[in-house]
Amino acid sequence: MVGLISALILIPLAGAIALYIGQPKNARTVALIFNALSAFYALLLWQKFDATAPGLQIAERHAWIPSIGAEYLVGVDGLSLLLVLLTSLVFPFAFCAQRLERGACALMLVMQAALYGTFTAQNFVLWFLFYEMSLIPAFLLIKIYGGENRDFAAVKFFIYTFFGSVAMLLAFLGIYFAKGTFDFATLAGLGKSGLLTGNLKWFAFAGIFLGLAVKVPLFPFHTWLPDAYQTAPTGVSMVLTGGLSKMGVYGFIRLLVPLFPNEIKIAGPWLLALVVCSIVFAPLAAWAQRDLKRMVAYLSINHLGYCLLGLFAITARSTSSLIDTQAALSGVFLQIFNHGITAAALFYFVGLLEQRRGLRGIDDFGGLMQRTPLLCGWMSVAMFSSLGLPGLNGFIGEFLIFKGSFAVAASVTAIAVLGLLFTAVTFMRAMQSLFGGPLVESCSGFSDLIRSEKLVIVPVTLLMFAIGILPQFIFNIFNATVTHMARLFA
């Protein structure tokens, strides 16, 4: 009998195999059917999930390679469930965004399975397997289906992330030889008293940090991201930002913070400095971009920076009170989810523009408001959500993060607020030159949103509003986990 989570992981894989063997004509439809199935399972998981219990739930445990302490252990807590739901949401969204070829659809499904695995695995070996498994389809998707400059971007992406992964693997081997276990929960329990000693401690910390920082990415390990996001097809960019980048933040929460609480306290100021650089420099760089996709990519770095700001602020200082810790953690979780939706939506809109115009430079458009008011209106909603306008989803997460981090690191937070301002400036400039001014001739033939596009964008936007106005249903997923983790970190 296959468990619920295993089924969730296997469904996209089955879809990929079906696409490969069956060679169906309409690959996207098949992929969407499998997505619907996995979404159904994800909802089932949500339904079975007991939101009041803090620990691991619906776990499946099988022996795998006992000699090295590797076992097949999957399960969900609030954070994992949140990310599983996000994955189930972003992938159909991405499939709807673009008519991908059969091979690309199969690769996307493999990536989806890997993401489900990453977010549910509770044993390092298994987790790492899925973590790396997502890398290969991402590489191939960029390399084969990417746009201009794809070879360079793909290799850079691969080498970069792979380098980070190797560092992390080495670090974990070190931990394994010291402690003899790969189990997350056991390791987290040992983390308090210090996992390792001497220089090895810092070596392991740096290795894991590097691996995750590249993935998120955190300044200054982010330079692969603009290239990769820029050249990848729209759907892949959406998945990269909506799913893959979350693996890094998830890793920080699940691995680095529980395993190295003492080291983070020492390295805290440096980490916060990097985060602030991420938050301030990324939107500034976004402002200077001419390519819309690159712009959104940079803003993505900025938004993930907020997640890490909250996380590092509460873990870097031992003085943080319970309310601040819980606020920051809730904010981080919510921000993860929000960013997944919002950034994917932004890439979706850039894709729509590119589809209509063939180009996506910010100067290639102008006066769209006259020609395509609906497109502009819905795109503005996504932009306002991204810049943290109250009433939309971005605001609550950011408010909670800043609330938590302000209490412990006021000066850092004050600088980070600049990031909010620069994000607004960037979006304002984009709106001005895309929507405003006289209608550019090359845009005069644009069609407004068609029915199928509306069907995609309206539910997503409604979700943004729902989270922005009545967020309780999202908080319910992870409140118990937040409480539990806050005790752990305190």
């Binding site: 070879d151 970069y160 982010h222 209608l439 409140n479």
Partner: protein, 657 residues
């Protein structure tokens, strides 16, 4: 009904917002229904506001609070709520009433516009958000509505987004206010951190109540100043005032009016709402934060009044007059005259709305000409507009006895004169009053008197749908003074919570003589100076340098362009450059070192150097080629790499020891 509305006060902003959503949902199909929807929504809000107003009259210091949990995070809850007190109730009525007049006026003014329905959706949305600001009982909820007001103003300023100037003005407004809002946001965070709650009133535990205020301690000054940043951004206080005059790019009278009568009042309202925070640690009613408010207000008021003297655009004159009046209100709040400031805010809402609608009527009649030098002699052609405009002008100038503005201005001057710290603000305010009378006289002479000029041919009076709101507002501007007189200071006592008594002896105050003299001097000087001015300005001829300085708004925009904006743009380009060349260069450098070592082992020195140079120059393809080149196929290269790798491991092992 009365008690029902006090416990469901949220319905007041909900009505216009619902109307906005309905109009948007129907889209273009709702063109005919848009205006009725919006007007009904606004009318509902007004009715409910009046019903909400009634219970506040029953008892002095009435305050009804409904708090509820917005969401629970972890084990903590975030609570927000709504409050109804005299301040909120008075603001509600002013906003709803002025808003209704605008709505009706817009039906006529925007009749030709192809995005008619969208315009009404925005207007309703704006009105709802503004009403929400007023009744919020939580600084966070207030911030939420505050930002929504900002969004609505962005949408309305940029309503004619196809005009590049409108798009730029909208962007400028949003970003400038957002700069202030970032300060406000930090203030909220700080306040939340210190007091543990963002509710204003919460049965003694709110952040404006004694326990919450005690918890603030010395940080209260900073929190107050940060919140004031937000207020300064919204209310166009120096140095964040630059967006307000540009905001006149919106649909002529309507958007301008919103930025003149209601939205900009939000900043003043905010300061009044969180006034207890400003007062923490006050000695004689003076705190450092309030002192800052006073001086910023004085600087704004005087600067804007000076600039207004040298403008030729009918709307810009009014815009600067708004900035100047807001400065006045801020001074009033800063010196302790909270009630006076709010009274002036309410009165200003009416007469400034009147003036802007009048200007809109003039512009409409003059076929969208806004330069006052090209108008003239409109007095006979547009009699209704003229007479209502004259009432508005006198109210704004502060002519005593009959006009609301006169009474409130005196109250403010009175409060300022008693400020213990310094008398300079008082004298500067007197200069401001004089200048106001001067530039309003100048404007009215240019527009309505003298001979007809280029734009005043074929002028006609506006239709009834536009003039009736003018008349309503003019009546309001006069009648409102009934509750403002010192003889029966009903409104002041209503706001401060004391019962009002009628005492006719207090009608004549010494201040009224000063005020009368100044206004009289300003008006007479204006008449004397501009009487003969036909299409040109006497100051311009007498003092061209000074005039140019004022006409160009003291070059503040230009200074910002050269400093702040230029710096930010440089920072952006620098970030991008760092990213492309330094951070990415580091990564490529690491790759190049690996490549270099690999090459070294094959001993092809020339190729190493070439490849190194290539690496620096080829850029895009370099990395890919590099990766393939490193696989030279030569066994010795691999062996060398293995040896170095082993060495690295050995060293690592020894170091970890």
């Amino acid at each position: 009904m009365n008690s029902w509305i006090t416990s469901n006060v949220w319905l007041i902003p909900a009505a216009p917002i619902l109307a906005a959503l309905l109009i948007l949902a129907f889209g273009k199909a709702a063109r005919r229904a848009a205006a009725p929807f919006a007007v009904i929504g606004q009318l509902t809000a007004l009715t409910m506001s009046i019903f909400a107003f009634v219970p506040t009259l029953h008892s002095h210091g009435f305050r009804s609070v409904q708090n509820f949990t917005w969401f629970t995070f972890g084990e903590q809850t975030l609570r927000i709520g709504f409050v109804l007190d005299p301040l909120a109730a008075a603001m509600l009525i002013m906003i709803a009433l002025v808003g209704l007049c605008i709505f009706v006026f817009s039906i006529g003014y925007m009749a030709e516009d192809k995005n008619f329905s969208r315009f009404f959706a925005y207007l309703s949305f704006f009105s709802g958000a503004m009403l929400g600001v007023v009744i919020a009982n939580s600084l966070l909820l207030l911030f939420v509505f505050w930002e929504l007001v900002g969004l609505a103003s962005y949408l309305l300023i940029g309503f004619w987004i196809e005009r590049p100037s409108a798009a730029a003005a909208a962007k400028k407004a949003f970003i400038t206010t957002r700069i202030g809002d970032m300060g406000f946001f930090l203030g909220i965070l700080w306040l939340y951190h210190r007091s543990g709650t963002l509710l204003f009133y919460d049965g003694g535990r709110g952040c404006l109540e004694s326990v919450g205020l005690l918890a603030l301690g010395a940080s209260a000054t900073f929190i107050a100043l940060l919140i004031f940043c937000g207020a300064a951004g919204k209310s166009g206080q120096f140095p964040l005032h630059v967006w307000l005059p540009d905001a006149m790019e919106g649909p002529t009278p309507v958007s301008a009016l919103i930025h003149a009568a209601t939205m900009v009042a939000a900043g003043v309202f905010l300061v009044a709402r969180v006034y207890p925070i400003f007062l923490v640690g006050a000695i004689n009613g003076v705190t450092p934060s309030l002192t800052v408010v006073v001086w910023i207000g004085v600087a704004t008021g005087l600067m804007a009044a000076l600039i207004a003297v040298a403008q030729f655009d009918i709307k810009r004159i009014l815009a600067y007059s708004t900035v100047s009046q807001l400065g006045l209100m801020m001074v009033s709040l800063g010196v302790g005259g909270v009630a006076a400031g709010i009274m002036h805010l309410l009165a200003h809402g009416f007469f400034k709305a009147l003036l802007f609608l009048g200007a809109g009527s003039v512009i409409h009649g003059c076929h969208h000409e806004q330069d006052i030098r090209k108008m003239g002699g409109l007095r006979r052609l547009m009699p209704v507009t003229f007479s209502t405009y004259a009432i508005g002008m006198m109210a704004l100038s502060g002519v005593p006895f009959f006009f609301s503005g006169g009474w409130t201005k005196e109250e403010i001057l009175h409060a300022t004169s008693q400020w213990p710290r310094s008398h300079i603000p008082y004298y500067l305010m007197l200069v401001g009053v004089f200048l106001t009378a001067l530039y309003m006289t100048r404007q009215i002479i240019f527009v309505f008197f003298g001979n007809r000029r280029a734009a005043s041919e074929h002028v006609h009076e506006s239709p009834g749908v536009m003039t009736i709101p003018l008349i309503v507002l003019a009546v309001c501007a006069i009648l409102f003074s009934v509750v403002l007189t010192p003889a029966w200071p009903w409104l002041e006592n209503y706001l401060t919570g004391y019962p009002a008594r009628f005492d006719p002896h207090l009608l004549i105050q010494p201040m009224i003589i000063v005020s009368l003299a100044l206004v009289g001097a300003g008006v007479s000087l204006g008449i004397w100076m501009y009487r003969r001015a036909a299409g040109s300005d006497p100051i311009q001829q007498a003092q061209p340098a000074l005039f140019r300085f004022l006409e160009n708004k003291m070059w503040i925009d230009e200074i910002y362009d050269r400093t702040v904006i230029a710096l930010a743009a440089i920072a952006a380009r620098f970030s991008d450059w760092m990213d492309r060349y330094v951070w990415d260069g580091l990564v490529r450098g690491v790759g190049a070192i690996g490549h270099f070592l690999a090459r070294l082992t094959t001993g092809a020195d020339e190729r190493v150097i070439n490849a190194g140079v290539d690496e620096g120059t080829v850029g895009a393809h370099g990395f890919g080629r590099l990766m393939s080149r490193r696989h030279s196929g030569q066994i010795q290269t691999y062996l060398g790499a293995i040896a170095l790798g082993m060495l690295a491991l050995v060293l690592l092992y020894a170091w970890l020891g």
